[in-house]
C-alpha cells in the first residue's frame, strides 16, 4: 500500500517534471504553510482545509500542506505574518475580498495585498438577494420601488459596513434613489435569524446557505448576483435581468505569497492550482457550495485585486465610509 502510494506520487512528480520542464524546475522540499485570517471554522479556514484535503487526495503535492490561523484585524494580522516570510517559497496565504476592503478603511493595517505576491485566483462567490416567502415583494424592482416610496422603512440584514452586502445596497440605492436601512450582524446565523423572524425585510445570502431555506418554503430569491447563471437557480434573474444595469465587485478567494517570491516557485504554484482546479474533487466542492470556478494566474489575480480596490474605494467614498488609502 505504502509502496504503491510512493510509486504513484513518484510517477506524478515525474509527469509534472516533464510537463513543466521548460519553466518549473523548483519543487517544494518541506511542508508548506498556508496562512488564513480567520479562526478555525471561518470561511477562508474551511476553504484552506478543504483545499489541503483535495491536494492530498489527488496526490498533487510531494509534501504536506498545513493551515496556520492568524486571526485578527480582518486579515491585517495574517497579511503581516505573510509579509514577514519575505522570499520564503514554502509560505502561502488564502486571501479574500475582505482583505482588500479592510486595508482600505483601516490605518493600522500596515501590510496590504500590494506588498504581497499574487499567486492564483481560485473562486468567485456569487450571492442571492432573498426575502421571506410571506413578503409582498416578488421581484427586486418591487422591493426597490417600495423603498423609494417610503424611504428608510425597509431593512436589510448584513455584515460589516464594508461587506459586499452593503456595497450591493449602496450600488442599488445610488442608481435608483431608493433608500433602506442596513443592520449589521457579526454572524451569518444572526443575519438569517433576523430575516426569518421578520425583524428585517431582505438579505444578501450565500447560495448554499439559502438553498435549504428555499426548499423548506421559508425564503424566496429575487435576484442572483453572479456572472454565470448558477446551476441551482436556473430561473432566477441576475441584476441586469431584474432591471438594474449595475456592476458588482466580485467576491474573490485566492492565494498570495510573501514579497520577493522566487519566480520559479511562483510558476510551480500557478501550475499546481491550475491542476487542482481541474480535478473532480474541486468541481464537486464548487458545485456543492454553488461557487464560481474562476482560476486566474498570479498576474491576473493582481489585476483583479487592483480593479476591486478601485471599485470599493469609489463605493466607500460615495457611501461616506472614510478610506485611508
Amino acid at each position: 500500500m505504502k509502496l504503491s502510494k510512493t510509486i504513484c506520487s513518484l510517477a506524478i512528480a515525474a509527469m509534472a517534471g516533464f510537463a513543466g520542464l521548460a519553466h518549473a524546475q523548483w519543487k517544494p522540499s518541506k511542508p508548506i504553510e498556508v496562512i488564513v485570517h480567520t479562526a478555525p471554522g471561518g470561511g477562508n479556514d474551511v476553504l484552506a482545509r478543504a483545499m489541503v484535503q483535495m491536494l492530498e487526495k489527488e496526490n498533487l503535492l510531494p509534501v504536506r500542506m498545513q493551515v496556520l490561523n492568524r486571526p485578527g484585524g480582518n486579515g491585517a494580522v495574517a497579511a503581516a505574518a505573510i509579509a514577514e516570510k519575505k522570499g520564503d517559497p514554502h509560505t502561502l496565504g488564502v486571501v479574500s475580498s475582505a482583505w482588500i476592503a479592510n486595508a482600505l478603511v483601516t490605518r493600522e493595517a500596515k501590510v496590504t495585498l500590494h506588498d504581497l505576491t499574487p499567486v492564483a485566483g481560485l473562486l468567485q462567490e456569487p450571492a442571492l438577494i432573498a426575502v421571506r416567502t410571506d413578503s409582498p415583494f416578488k421581484t427586486l424592482k418591487e422591493f426597490v420601488d417600495a423603498a423609494k416610496a417610503k424611504p428608510g422603512t425597509l431593512k436589510q440584514s448584513g455584515g460589516s459596513v464594508t461587506s459586499r452586502d452593503n456595497i450591493i445596497r449602496q450600488t442599488l440605492q445610488q442608481s435608483t434613489g431608493a433608500r433602506w436601512a442596513f443592520v449589521s450582524f457579526p454572524g451569518g446565523g444572526e443575519r438569517l435569524a433576523a430575516l426569518l423572524g421578520g425583524h428585517v425585510d431582505m438579505m444578501v445570502i450565500e447560495p448554499q446557505e439559502a438553498g435549504e431555506q428555499i426548499r423548506a418554503g421559508k425564503l424566496r430569491v429575487l435576484t442572483q448576483i453572479s456572472d454565470k447563471p448558477l446551476s441551482g437557480f436556473p430561473n432566477v434573474p441576475n441584476l441586469k435581468q431584474s432591471g438594474f444595469d449595475v456592476g458588482s465587485s466580485p467576491q474573490i478567494r485566492g492565494l498570495m505569497a510573501p514579497p520577493d517570491f522566487p519566480k520559479d516557485a511562483l510558476a510551480y504554484y500557478e501550475d499546481l492550482f491550475l491542476k487542482l482546479s481541474k480535478t473532480a474533487s474541486w468541481k464537486k466542492y464548487v458545485d456543492d457550495y454553488q461557487l464560481e470556478d474562476s482560476y486566474m494566474n498570479g498576474a491576473g489575480l493582481g489585476k483583479t485585486i487592483t480593479a476591486i480596490e478601485n471599485d470599493l474605494r469609489n463605493q466607500y467614498q460615495q457611501a461616506g465610509v472614510k478610506t485611508v488609502r
Partner: protein, 502 residues
C-alpha cells in the same frame, strides 16, 4: 409516539460498536480539550474535520458533538484547581470553585461539577428531543431589542457579584465594558482604542483577560507573604473527596436552575454559554438563603453555572438542527461539517436525515453517562494535584496560563497582554476591587452595544422598540435588581437616624 420510535431508531444507530467507540472517543477528547485552557472545542473540531471525511458521517457527528459537550465537563477542572478558566463558560466556576479548593474541598467541587454537568446535560437532551421544533420557531421572535434587554439584565447582576462596595464593582464593570469596546467597529469600520496596533484591531480575546486577572493576578498575590507558602489541605480517604449527601441536597435547585437557564439561553442564537453560566449563577445567588456566602466557596455556586454551560450545548443544537442557523462558533463549524459530508442542514434536516438526528440525540444520552463515569475517577487524580507545594504549584499555574494563551493564536503580543491583565488583576486584589464584574462587563458589553445599535437602526432611532413586551419585562427585572440595594441602604440609614434620635 413519534418521539419514542425516533429514539428507538436513534439508539439502534448509536449503540453500534463503531458509533459507541466514536462517542467515547469524542467524550475523551472533549474532556482533554476542556481541561487544557486556551484550546477550545471550535479549534479542535476544525482541526479534526479533514480526518472525518473518510468516516461514516453519523459516527463523525457523534464524535464531534462529544467533543463539544465533553469540553464543558473538563472546563471546570482548571477553574477549580488553579483559578484558570479552561473554557470561557467556566469563568464563573472560578468564583466559588477555587475558594472551595482552597478550603480543601476541591474534590467536592470537581465532583459536583461532574454531577451537575451530567444532570443538566441529560435534561438538556430531553428538552432537545421534546421541544426542539416549536422552540426554534419561538426563538426567532427574539431579536436585537430582546438581546439588548437580556444583556442589560445580565449586567444588572453586577449587584449580586459586588463585594462590599457597589461603587467599586460598578467601576470594575465599566472597565470591562471599555475593553469590550476595543477593536474594529462593525457598524462603521472605525478602529476604537487600538493605539495603532494591528493586533488590537480584532479586540482583546475574553479568555486572555479572564486568565490574566483570575490566574496570574492570584499567583502574584500569593507570592507576597514572606512566610513559606502553605500547601492547600486535601482530605485523606476516597470518601472525603466526593460531594456529600448534604451537598447534593443543597444543589437540588442549582441543578434545575442550571438545566433550564442553560438550555433556553442556548437556544437563542447570539447569546452563548458564558452568558447562561453568569445568569444561572446570578439566579442561584438571588434565591439563596445565604447569598452573602457566594464567592467564598459555596457548592451551589459551582453546580449552577456548570449545569448551565452543559445544558447550553443541547440548546445550541436546536437552531442548528431545526433551522440550519448556527448560534455559536462551535455550531458554525458543525454546520460546515454537515455540508461537507453532503447533508443539508436546514428546516427539513430532521425529516430528511432522521437517522443522523436521532442517532445524535441517543448518543448524547450515552455520552453524558460516559462522561460521568470518565470524570468521577478523575476527581481523585486531580484533587491530588493540590498536594503540590507552592513552589511547584504557582509556576505551574503560570505555565499552564501562558501555554493556553499561546495556543489560541501563537501570538507573543497576546502573551504580553496576559502579563498586563495579570498586573491589573493584582492591583485589583490589592485595592479590594471585585474582579468578576470586570469579566461580566467584558462578556456582555460587546453584544449589548451591538444589540442596542441594531435595535435603533431597525426602529430608525425610535426608543420605543426597547419596550415591546419581552424586553420590557427583562428591563423591569433589571431595574428591580438595581433598586433593591438602594432601598436596603436607605432603610439602614433611616434606622441609624431613628436610633440616634431615640
Amino acid at each position: 409516539m413519534d418521539i419514542l420510535n425516533g429514539l428507538m431508531q436513534g439508539f439502534s444507530v448509536a449503540l453500534t460498536p463503531m458509533n459507541l467507540a466514536m462517542c467515547f472517543l469524542g467524550c475523551l477528547l472533549g474532556t482533554i480539550v476542556g481541561v487544557l485552557p486556551g484550546l477550545g472545542p471550535p479549534a479542535t473540531i476544525a482541526m479534526l474535520l479533514p480526518l472525518t471525511f473518510k468516516m461514516d458521517p453519523t459516527g463523525a457527528m457523534i464524535m464531534l458533538a462529544g467533543i463539544y459537550y465533553g469540553a464543558k465537563y473538563g472546563g471546570s477542572t482548571t477553574s477549580i484547581l488553579l483559578n484558570v478558566p479552561g473554557e470561557s463558560s467556566s469563568v464563573v466556576t472560578c468564583l466559588d470553585g477555587y475558594q472551595m479548593a482552597r478550603q480543601g474541598r476541591a474534590g467536592a467541587a470537581l465532583g459536583i461539577s461532574a454531577i451537575a454537568s451530567f444532570v443538566a446535560g441529560t435534561i438538556g437532551t430531553v428538552l432537545l428531543m421534546l421541544v426542539a421544533p416549536p422552540l426554534a420557531k419561538l426563538s426567532l421572535a427574539f431579536s436585537s431589542p430582546e438581546y439588548f434587554a437580556l444583556m442589560v439584565l445580565g449586567l444588572a447582576m453586577v449587584v449580586l457579584l459586588a463585594g462590599d462596595s457597589l461603587t467599586k464593582a460598578l467601576l470594575a464593570m465599566t472597565f470591562g465594558l471599555w475593553i469590550a469596546g476595543m477593536g474594529t467597529d462593525l457598524f462603521t469600520a472605525t478602529s476604537r482604542f487600538t493605539f495603532g496596533q494591528t493586533e488590537l484591531l480584532g479586540g482583546i480575546d475574553f479568555v486572555i483577560v479572564a486568565i490574566g486577572i483570575f490566574a496570574v493576578g492570584e499567583v502574584m498575590a500569593n507570592m507576597e507573604p514572606e512566610k513559606p507558602l502553605d500547601m492547600l489541605p486535601v482530605p485523606k480517604g476516597l470518601k472525603n473527596l466526593f460531594p456529600t449527601l448534604q451537598d447534593l441536597k443543597d444543589c437540588r435547585f442549582a441543578f434545575m436552575n442550571g438545566s433550564i437557564i442553560g438550555f433556553f439561553i442556548g437556544v437563542l442564537p447570539g447569546a452563548g454559554a458564558t452568558i447562561s453560566s453568569f445568569l444561572s449563577y446570578g439566579l442561584e445567588k438571588a434565591v439563596s438563603k445565604h447569598p452573602e456566602k457566594f464567592g467564598t466557596g459555596v457548592i451551589e455556586g459551582v453546580a449552577a453555572p456548570e449545569g448551565a454551560n452543559n445544558a447550553d450545548t443541547a440548546g445550541a443544537l436546536v437552531p442548528l438542527l431545526t433551522l440550519g442557523i448556527p448560534g455559536s462558533g462551535t455550531t458554525a463549524i458543525l454546520l460546515a461539517a454537515l455540508v461537507l459530508w453532503g447533508f443539508k442542514p436546514g428546516p427539513m434536516f430532521i425529516e430528511d436525515s432522521p437517522a443522523m438526528f436521532w442517532g445524535l440525540v441517543a448518543s448524547m444520552y450515552i455520552g453524558n453517562v460516559v462522561l460521568l463515569i470518565l470524570n468521577l475517577p478523575l476527581v481523585t487524580v486531580f484533587a491530588q494535584l493540590l498536594r503540590m507545594p507552592g513552589y511547584v504549584m504557582y509556576p505551574l499555574i503560570l505555565g499552564v496560563s501562558m501555554v493556553g494563551i499561546y495556543t489560541i493564536n501563537s501570538s507573543v503580543f497576546q502573551l504580553c497582554l496576559l502579563a498586563v491583565f495579570g498586573l491589573v488583576g493584582y492591583a485589583m486584589r490589592k485595592l479590594d476591587f471585585p474582579t468578576a464584574p470586570l469579566v461580566l462587563g467584558l462578556v456582555l458589553g460587546d453584544s449589548m452595544e451591538k444589540a442596542l445599535r441594531q435595535s435603533l437602526m431597525m426602529s430608525q432611532g425610535d426608543l420605543s422598540i426597547l419596550f415591546r413586551p419581552i424586553p420590557a419585562v427583562l428591563l423591569s427585572i433589571a431595574a428591580f435588581l438595581l433598586i433593591v440595594p438602594l432601598i436596603k441602604k436607605f432603610n439602614s440609614v433611616r434606622a441609624q437616624v431613628i436610633d440616634k434620635e431615640a
